[in-house]
Subunit: 147 residues, 2 copies
DNA sequence: TCAATTCCGAGTAAGTTCGTAGGAATTGAC
DNA sequence: GTCAATTCCTACGAACTTACTCGGAATTGA
């Protein structure tokens, strides 16, 4: 029931970009130093986020990454889905794979309801929180300038 | 964000035991056949559940496993915790490990709130569903006798 | 021109998952 | 007392995932 470092670091990087949104491209090196993660590893995560259209990049000197949309329009669930895959406790619930909704035996429908409830509650949290929400939290903690 | 087969099969096995609660010990072989999982693999899961006190076992001919408590007193969260470990999206949230609550940098407290909300919502679902709830669902589906 | 930076593909060590294998110990039924 | 059924225990292992590292090509602003 854990998210991996892909999701964790990815959300941290996107949160960092949200805090500095509007200040031009931020380099990987800067993000990696501020969030204390491996630069090369983060590079791979940013590549995924870029291909998914959540960030834009600029190469060369003074290049870096920026959010592709305002922080209020990027949900944490969007980030997690890109980096961790569908938000679901069980593969058979994932409509995108076509393996569900029936897993072969009718009695499993009872358990399916359970797992579906779990999935719904996870998505509810992750899709109702945006980067802007996190930014507001940070401002409220009055530590934004230190980050 | 997935549970592994340990949790999935374990819940299925416990659900099976709940449906047949009060009928004496149920053998691994029977559960494995009904739930279509590997008998040897399930054996390992049942060993964990036994050590955790959720089931009792009886060796020898006509032996098998039984729920240690009535279905209404066993929460799905209890089963998942035994088989998958603490229910938490991030290790640093797990109070039992002592690594939390501070992960070294204050700005992470903002993200901590997010992950904590996620954890709470997952535990809310898993700890508010008991085996009796699932049994009632099954009875309502009128398929209990087929299982 | 050059330093900074993204982009890209490959490799890899350690850990986790999902089992399998084999046999010892226990028990009820006959 | 024997035997079949069953739990109990330890060990092994193959495949997959995770969390990176490495090296270098391409791009860009100063």
């Amino acid at each position: 029931m854990r998210i991996s470092t892909r999701g964790e670091y990815g959300v941290r990087a996107m949160f960092d970009l949200a805090l500095h949104h509007g200040q031009g491209p931020i380099s990987l090196k800067t993000i990696a130093e501020r969030q204390i993660v491996s630069e090369h590893y983060l590079e791979q995560l940013m590549a995924s986020l870029r291909k998914a259209g959540l960030v834009t990049s600029k190469r060369g000197a003074q290049g870096g990454y920026e959010l592709a949309y305002p922080p209020a329009e990027i949900r944490i669930g969007d980030i997690i889905r890109v980096l961790e895959g569908p938000i679901t406790p069980l593969d058979c619930l994932d409509v995108s794979t076509g393996t569900g909704p029936y897993c072969g035996h009718p009695e499993q429908c009872v358990l399916r309801g359970l797992w579906k409830s779990l999935q719904d509650s996870m998505e509810q949290v992750l899709d109702n929180t945006t980067l802007e929400d996190l930014r507001q939290d940070a401002l409220r903690l009055k530590v934004a300038e230190d980050i």
